[in-house]
């Protein structure tokens, strides 16, 4: 960052350096840092300071009440989360969420983006608007609509399924422990398709059309062009969406879990962030919540590192 800012300065090598006082020189040096300082200070204050505090809180027992002194408990909080089953269940559920979310965040959107890419601009915009619409609807309102659709007896889904004879008794989408996770994924996925499609469409726009022209001249079929031109050149977007999906699925599903199931039945739909939130803001146990947060921070950090490594190997940039 500093290099970039410095290189943006006028070249001073021609000016006699000796004539400048030491303070001036220092000032010149720190000017670029002063430019980024407001942003940097805010990020430090709002992101890194709480991060450090979280580590501190994870060794204490405190209910976040300013009148109450935190009690230092060492590693007890970590011991609690590793010995209690709700933590393991939340981690397992999160893995399932991540896996099941991938079709909605990567595969389907990519297919949609590629399929609509060569349409006329008006048709393309209409299609993409349709897919993007769910993205701009408020999650709580969506949840209410989905709850009605998925209602075990009054819902449209079960009405269709029973009248077609697929099931004899309505599926309890949100209260059957075998269904609830899938249902949440379906809702969160439906919402994410729009955003991902947009990302993939943007990625496609960046591909130079002359590659396709050349391939057409060479007589290659459309599917072959997709396989050999589109996919490799789209790889940075694919990797980005893959990483976002893995790291953020737990956040994307949070609102629906909170509104529709509160993590239930009996923890079957909870995920790491919901658990963390329950510890911290329902039970006011900031120690447990922070300890869990520290564990997730390390876990997701490792995942992010692995992704950047893979990204360097796999993604192909066309400059």
């Amino acid at each position: 960052m500093s290099e970039l800012a410095l290189s943006a300065l006028p070249d001073l090598s021609g000016v006699s350096v000796r004539q400048q006082s030491a303070t001036k020189r220092i000032l010149k040096r720190i000017t670029p840092f002063l430019f980024v300082a407001p942003a940097l200070i805010l990020v430090l204050f709002w992101v890194y300071r709480p991060l450090v505090q979280t580590f501190g809180l994870s060794t204490q027992m405190w209910n976040m009440n300013p009148n109450v002194e935190p009690v230092s408990v060492g590693l007890q909080n970590f011991q609690y989360i590793f010995t209690h089953p709700d933590f393991a269940q939340a981690v397992w559920n999160t893995l399932l969420y991540i896996l099941l979310m991938l079709p909605f965040s990567v595969i389907l959107p990519m297919a949609i983006a590629i399929a609509t890419n060569r349409l006329g601009s008006r048709a393309k915009n209409i299609y993409r608007a349709i897919f993007f619409l769910p993205m701009i609807m408020p999650p709580v309102a969506c949840s209410a609509v989905w709850r009605w659709l998925m209602h075990p007896i009054n819902g449209l889904f079960n009405h269709v399924l029973t009248s077609m004879g697929v099931v004899t008794e309505g599926i309890r989408f949100l209260s059957d422990e075998n269904w609830v996770l899938l249902s949440i994924v379906l809702i969160a996925g439906w919402k994410m398709i729009g955003f991902s499609t947009l990302m993939f469409s943007a990625g496609l726009t960046g591909i130079d059309p002359s590659y396709y022209e050349a391939a057409s001249v060479d007589g290659h079929k459309k599917w072959y062009q997709t396989l050999t031109i589109t996919l490799p050149l789209l790889s940075p977007t694919i990797m980005l969406m893959l990483m976002m999906s893995v790291l953020m699925t737990a956040q994307w599903t949070f609102a629906y879990i909170d509104v529709l199931t509160q993590g239930g039945p009996a923890g079957a739909s909870t995920n790491v962030y919901y658990l963390l939130w329950t510890y911290g803001f329902k039970n006011f146990n900031s120690g447990l919540s922070s300890a869990a947060a520290v564990v997730f921070f390390i876990g997701f950090g490792i995942l992010a590192l692995i992704f950047t490594r893979i990204n360097r190997k796999v993604a192909f940039y066309d400059n």
Binding site: V36, W62, M64, I153, N154, G264
Partner: protein
Amino acid sequence: MKKKKIVALLAAAAMFVTMGTGCMTTKATDGTGSESGNGKTEITFYTYNLSVASHKEAAQKLIDDFNAQSDTVHVTGVAADVMSLQTKIQSDYAAGQTFDVVQCALNQVGYYVENYKLPSFEDVAGQDAFDAHMEGFAENAKTLGQYSDGKTYVLPYTFSTPMLYYNADLFRKAGLDPDAPIETWEDVKKCGTALKAAGYEGVQVTATTATGDYDWLIQAMIYSNGGDVMNADHTEVTFNDPNTVGAIQTWQDLVKSGAHTNYTDTEAQEAFLAGNQGMLVTPSAFESGLISAAESGGWELRAVGFPSFGEKEAIPTNSGSGLCIMSSDPEKQKAAWEFIKYVTSAEGYTTITSMMGYLPLRPAIVDDEKYLKSWAEEHPFVRTNLSQLNRLHRWEGFPGMNGGQISTLLNQTVTKCIFSDCDVAAEMQTLQDQAQDLMP
């Protein structure tokens, strides 16, 4: 190229951050009351009734009526979300932006007193004025807001007991007699099974999810079977007590037999409102919604008291809330007392009971022509509900910093037990061990 991206990202991050702080400052100014132009003391009232569709009108009416008759105080209502009420109160308090009068859950009195530096009503109003106001207040409700020092810090306000509501038309369609008494869980099971056999849904005790993960209705099940959640001096939890376990086993059996649905509580409520579910055990707080659904759906709503376990007397707990004063400014505390006095007066309870469905905590007003007599004749449920007040058990909050964690665990374990065929005794023993660890 890459570096430009980083700078752009940082800029974007900075923007988000400033946006965030912007929101927070506006919130803070909303939260503080101030002297208004006409010399009245301005106070804020944080209440979840304003965010419940079927309560909103009545909650606003209480505030408007008070403002219209008071020359010295002006109240502004602020809607709170019932599901995250405690979360909001705590985070507002931690952020130093509390409201002057706050509606809070009644199991938390100890927690509030120990953590929020509340003034007692005896101190704010003066002992004599307070005693005079409490004249005619339901005996069993009076003490619910008291702390161990004998002073009242939370005044019971909107308050209900669980009732069994049923759809008399569905009963007839299922070949059941809606006039036959439904007194025990055995009766409930019989009716539920018959309803199920006729293609409808049976009962649901909306105790696990609908109430924002609270555990008060679970506690009512446990007390009614002679069980308990804690020992007398609140040092040990008693989830492995045979009667506690027995209550959950009976409940599990209801579900297994098909008489009890295994929906989320919200789904069961919706099914009942739509006229597909025969019975619903739910706090009378939802009554106004049930009545209007029955009217528009054209079916007959009836209600009986909380069912009992065989010969044992049913022991309902209280859902609901009290009011506490969170302002530390003496002038605002006095103003808050004026408002609280009004909403818990005979007039206040007339609005609360007739428009929301909560209990009139001044029971005499149901016989008073001036207040609720004519209304009570049209709504006989209110007397059933009032009679339960005599057997009321306090909704206990678990002590210590991990008290909330124990409630959550209790709720989760009970949900797991009743909606699966697991070994209840074993699950409750696991809960016992986990929860005991969390006791102070």
